[in-house]
């Protein structure tokens, strides 16, 4: 497996990465363009960044997006983790049945998830209006419910494998040693499956931020996420302010990823070092 790749193979991979990044590089470059044109360079400017800071519409949309994504990812992570632990205890048959339903939002086309949820919200809304005179309108709440619904399955799918790796005796051992159920859960199980939980949260958050289709059908009248606003803009003119915003977001994520990566590498090196000293000590003995 670890044979070196030929030059051709590497070139091919590099070209694929170029393909993935070409439009992004373009977006970034044109966030500094001195005109609204998307294909003609007419000089360097920071105007779009300045304008961005004054554009309340975009900032509002960004705020909504981050808020929805964060709450949805948080709720989904907590709910998903508990559910995964519960699922893990279930017998195979009911578990498989629930997992099959769990897979629906993952596999189903976004447009169907969005359309079906909007049908639900609207019909439940009119039912409520008829029965109790309560008006339910599409808005932040429906958007949040939709996001939580498509986030939970990913969290579950991310936590379950970690539970499978878990030593079953660990939990009982903790309880035998006098830990209460809660203590055993918080001190033993959670730390063991933490990577799965963290991964689930990140994935849920990313999916929420990136989602357009489901939000489009469920957000209703006054809530607008960033991707909805961008869609509305593609229907007329995309303002380079959006390029500027994307550049900022992109660089932020890039920076965060680099930090995480560097940390991981350092931790691994430390672990190796520790292992090495351990090994040396043993040999020395």
């Amino acid at each position: 497996m670890k044979k070196r790749n030929s030059f051709g193979a590497r070139l091919f991979t590099a070209l694929v990465f170029l393909f993935l990044y070409a439009p992004i590089i373009l977006l970034i470059i044109f966030s500094f363009n001195n005109s609204k044109s998307r294909s003609v360079w007419s000089g360097f400017t920071l105007d779009w960044y300045v304008k961005l800071f004054h554009n309340t519409g975009i900032r509002q949309a960004l705020w909504t997006t981050l808020l929805v994504s964060f709450i949805a990812a948080l709720v989904a992570t907590i709910a998903g983790t508990f559910t995964a632990i519960g699922l893990f205890q279930l017998k195979r048959k009911p578990r498989d049945a629930i997992l099959a339903v769990n897979n629906i939002p993952v596999i189903n086309a976004d447009i169907i998830t969005g359309v079906s949820l909007s049908l639900l919200f609207v019909s439940v809304g009119s039912l409520f209006a008829r029965l109790f005179g309560l008006e339910f309108r599409l808005g932040f709440l429906s958007l949040l419910i939709a996001h939580i619904t498509f986030n939970i399955p990913y969290v579950i799918l991310s936590v379950l494998p970690k539970l499978r790796q878990l030593d079953k005796n660990l939990f009982e051992a903790a309880q035998d040693l006098g830990a209460t159920w809660i203590q055993a859960f918080v001190k033993v199980i959670i730390p063991e499956i933490r990577p799965g939980i963290v991964n689930g949260f990140i994935m849920a958050f990313t999916l929420s931020i990136d989602d357009f289709v489901i939000s489009y059908f469920t957000a209703g009248s006054y809530v607008q996420t960033l991707s909805m606003q961008i869609y509305a803009m593609t229907k007329k003119r995309i303002s380079p302010e959006i390029n500027a915003l994307s550049t900022i977001l992109f660089l932020t994520v890039l920076l965060l990823l680099i930090i995480i990566n560097v940390r991981q590498v350092r931790q691994e090196k430390d672990a190796q070092k520790r292992l090495a000293t351990l090994y040396n000590n043993k040999n020395a003995r």
Partner: protein, 277 residues
């Protein structure tokens, strides 16, 4: 232990409310007419949209095949690089998803347009004059739509395959080599069969969004050749209000997706984890 088992109950209720019932609503709507009666009318009307169905399937399949043809080698090549390089590439594949896909697709528009970068460049170096045309038609073609799909969904093909190959047990490969298998044999008899779950989940993850997209075709296809997703959107929030017909189309699409899934499940076990990247 029972207490923990109970923790699935809220989830089951939630999923029933927000996944199962909405899908049932689509089924109900699909069999309803505008006047509220039961009917198969919506389905008989579907016949006139055969062209859209065929176009969507063909474009989505083409995009999926291209993604596989590009994505598999990339995953394979990356899996042979050093661990730290693998981590970086994993990150590099995920990173574009943090820029809104509409925006990235819009950027392709600037590249492909008649007055876009490619045509400008070709004009400048004199190729267009040589060919005697004032532009080469790139945008508003099926090719452009496929490009948009490949561009947007390629990461969904690479990531699962990459993660499966990455985790392959190296001793199996060594064993095969020790037993005298050639490099090609090792690939076809060991690596490829073992990476199948990743391939299958990659195929689903590219095919399903491709067949249901409704923004890519509008931006890169000019809106003169609808895809299924456009057709559905048009019936719900667009210019031809008919949610009943829209539901019927959605139902058919759902069935297609489900059939895909079943076929995939038949081939590959352990897919669930491959989906997890």
């Amino acid at each position: 232990m029972n207490r923990k088992r109970i923790s699935t109950v809220p989830y089951v209720i939630w999923m029933a409310l927000f996944v199962v019932i909405p899908l049932l609503l689509i089924v109900v709507y699909a069999f309803t007419t505008k006047d509220g009666g039961f009917s198969l009318e919506n389905f008989s009307e579907l016949g006139s949209y055969t062209a859209v169905f065929i176009r969507s399937i063909v474009l989505a399949l083409t995009a999926t095949v291209i993604c596989l043809v590009i994505g598999y080698p990339v995953s394979y090549i990356l899996a042979r690089e050093s661990a730290s390089f693998q981590r970086i590439s994993n990150m590099l594949i995920m990173l574009p998803m943090w820029i809104n896909f509409l925006l990235r697709t819009y950027a392709w528009m600037s590249i492909l347009e008649n007055t876009g970068m490619i045509n400008r460049f070709l004009g400048k170096i004199g190729v267009l004059a040589l060919l005697g045309v004032d532009h080469i038609q790139l945008i508003n073609t099926n090719g452009a739509v496929i490009l948009g799909m490949v561009y947007n969904y390629l990461p969904f093909m690479i990531l699962p395959i990459f993660s499966v190959i990455q985790r392959l047990d190296r001793s199996l490969i060594e064993a095969a080599q020790d037993l005298g298998a050639t490099g090609f044999q090792v690939f076809t008899k060991v690596i490829f069969p073992l990476s199948l779950p990743g391939v299958l989940s990659g195929i689903t993850m590219v095919f399903v969004p491709s067949i249901s997209t409704f923004a890519i075709s509008k931006l890169l296809g000019g809106g003169t050749s609808l895809l299924l997703g456009d057709l559905i959107e048009m019936q719900f929030l667009g210019g031809a209000k008919n949610p009943y017909l829209g539901s019927a189309i959605s139902l058919i699409m759902m069935i297609m997706v489900m059939v895909c899934m079943l076929i995939m499940n038949r081939f590959g076990e352990g897919e669930e984890e491959a989906v997890m990247l």
